[in-house]
């Protein structure tokens, strides 16, 4: 895992993470010159650990990650880098997941970018609110890596 190149130091690089011995097929490190060859996913979460975890799982699944610490940063990065998908935490300072999704839907640059909400509050009305704001899917915390991968693949595969 490496630092995502386009976002400064928004994510901490976990040291000592190596590929599983039985999975040589998983890319270990992607190189600077590989930028742009893998789909770019925006990951916004104010909790650093969760951001790191989602980033780690997505990078292992073959995506580049654009990490953001809060809603405003996510909005700025999304407009600048046009990621192909956004995974957003619901409860974030400044702009929460609902409001951020609504803003994405209003802006020309991000109107068509699919949004997956990552939420610890998976009560029925929270989920309904997320869809009403324009989200495409949601994942409950805690999530399994398989679920994350499957949902991201399903949405990106559709396009």
């Amino acid at each position: 895992m490496t630092v995502a190149p386009r976002s400064g130091d928004a994510t901490r690089t976990p040291s000592g993470i190596r590929p599983p011995p039985d999975r040589p097929d998983i890319p270990v490190v992607w190189r600077e010159d590989a930028i742009g060859t893998r789909p770019l996913v925006l990951v916004a979460d104010d909790d650093e650990d969760i951001r790191m975890l989602v980033t780690f799982r997505l990078e292992r699944s073959g995506y580049d990650v654009l990490p953001a610490r809060d809603g405003e940063e996510a909005l700025e990065l999304a407009v600048r880098h046009r990621p192909e998908l956004a995974v957003l935490d619901l409860m974030m300072p400044k702009l929460d997941g609902y409001e951020l999704t609504r803003r994405f839907r209003e802006l020309e640059e991000t109107r068509r970018m699919p949004v997956i909400l990552l939420t610890a509050r998976a009560q029925d009305d929270d989920v309904a609110r997320g869809f009403a704001a324009g989200a495409d899917d949601y994942i409950r915390k805690p999530f399994s890596p398989q679920e994350l991968r499957a949902r991201v693949q399903a949405i990106l595969g559709r396009r």
Binding site: G16, R18, P20, D47, D49, I50, L53, D124, P142, F143
Partner: protein, 435 residues
């Protein structure tokens, strides 16, 4: 409206003088009588005089008695009055036509605070109040029933929306000794503070569960990363210990889920998402998932699925119900025991039975089983882990489906939970409308 203390005092004095007068008359009558017996002089007029004194004395005794009773009634009335006036709840009395005959201070105050009409019958006031609540239709229907069934007792709770205050209203009939209706008593108890405390508690549970879920997500996530070997190969001990930590984290997640679910049930916001339910499939999925655990605990787990037509319900919740019941059975059945899950149809209802040969539940505790946080003494004594939420959740799921859940148990022999669900057909009309 009731006699004051001085009145009672004056009445007592009057009563005492009456009694003295009566005694004097009677004494005179007796003396005259003795005189008559001693020397029979002028018989007829003397006899008349004696009789006159006797009658007058007797009448005076009677009057004194009546006054005595009156005084006692007065003081009883004063006591009742004091009790009614000191009550925090609003209390009022109406006659058969609904005209007010009494209202205590608390009731007068509530009427004033809620700006209710000062005149008119109780029905006018209640209707005016009901229309401002969140349950107007239900309340008006209840009042209408009172007109037809005068002996009815009604208890209803509602929130007066514009005032932001909740009340429990109750009415009971006032009957005379022969059962004739004299009127009604109405009481009003404010529950605003209770409702607010409940709301706060629900919000707290939701917030706490969110705050717990986030660190749990990273704990589970990174444990998985390590267990999958991303941070280097693991020794057997390391793998075993991390697996234990991983399992505990999972248990915490389940606990948080259960707490949230229970909070939702208590708040009355549990909804089911209905769809087509194939009960045999739901049961088979549950048994397949828990078979491994049963085998490790050396408990036989069998499924006897009878034919149940597909019906309208929430498959996910019903699966949760079955998982809870079977996991419970596994927990309370010692090694070597057996569990049978049965599905079928009886008397037009879908039936699910989970029968175990476990430790059983003492009969006096069966009524408490479906309350939240209740745990059977047999479970506590054996130090079996649990929160007392599982069966409360089961009951909520069954209730949301309009079904019933019951239990039969014998200590030391086993327990059978039985769920009956109505076989609702899919709402074809509603779907046609959408299409």
């Amino acid at each position: 409206m009731l006699d004051s203390g001085t009145d009672t005092l004056r009445a007592r004095r009057r009563r005492r003088s009456f009694s003295r007068l009566a005694a004097a008359f009677l004494v005179v009558a007796v003396v005259a009588g003795l005189d008559l017996v001693a020397g029979p002089a002028r018989w007829a007029p003397s006899l008349l005089l004696v009789l006159l004194y006797l009658v007058a004395g007797g009448a005076l005794v009677l009057i004194a008695r009546l006054m005595d009773r009156e005084a006692r009634l007065d003081s009883r009335r004063a006591e009742l009055h004091a009790v009614l006036q000191s009550a925090d709840n609003g209390i009022c009395l109406v006659d058969r036509e609904g005209r007010l005959t009494f209202a205590n201070v608390a009731m007068e105050r509530l009427w004033k605070e809620l700006h209710l009409p000062k005149d008119g019958t109780i029905w006018d006031r209640l209707a005016a109040l009901a229309l401002r609540t969140d349950r107007a239709e239900k309340l008006l229907a209840a009042f209408a029933r009172l007109a037809d069934e005068p002996a009815l007792e009604i208890v209803e709770e509602a929130e007066v929306v514009d005032a932001g205050r909740s009340f429990v209203g109750r009415t009971v009939p006032v009957l005379d000794a022969s059962g004739q209706l004299l009127g009604r008593v109405f009481t009003l108890r404010e529950t605003t503070a209770e409702r607010r405390a409940e709301r706060l508690k629900d919000e707290l549970v939701a917030t706490v569960s969110h705050e717990l879920r986030t660190p749990l997500t990273s704990a589970i996530g990174f444990l998985d990363v390590v267990l999958e070997g991303y941070s280097g190969p693991l020794g057997d001990d390391q793998r075993e210990f991390l697996t234990i930590a991983r399992k505990s984290a999972n248990r915490l997640v389940r606990l948080v889920d259960d707490l949230l679910f229970t909070a939702k049930v208590e708040a009355g916001t549990l909804t089911i998402e209905p769809g087509i339910v194939r009960l045999a499939e739901v049961a088979a999925g549950c048994v397949a998932d828990l078979r491994g655990l049963a085998e490790r605990s050396r408990i036989g787990l069998a499924l006897e699925d009878g034919d149940v037509d597909a019906f309208w319900g929430d498959s996910e919740r019903l699966r949760q119900l079955l998982d809870n019941l079977v996991a419970n059975a596994l927990k309370f059945t010692p090694a070597g025991g057996s569990i049978v899950v049965r599905t079928g149809v009886e008397a037009g209802r879908a039936v699910i039975q989970v029968e175990d040969s476990g430790i059983g539940i003492p009969s006096k505790e069966i009524g408490l089983l479906f309350q939240r946080f209740f745990r059977a003494s047999t479970a506590v004594e054996r130090q079996l882990p649990g929160t007392g939420l599982g069966l409360r959740i089961c009951k909520a799921i069954v209730d949301a489906h309009g079904g019933t859940i019951g239990v039969q148990s014998e200590e030391g022999l086993g327990t059978t939970f039985r769920v009956e669900l109505p076989l609702r057909a899919a709402p074809v009309v509603a779907r046609a409308k959408v299409a």
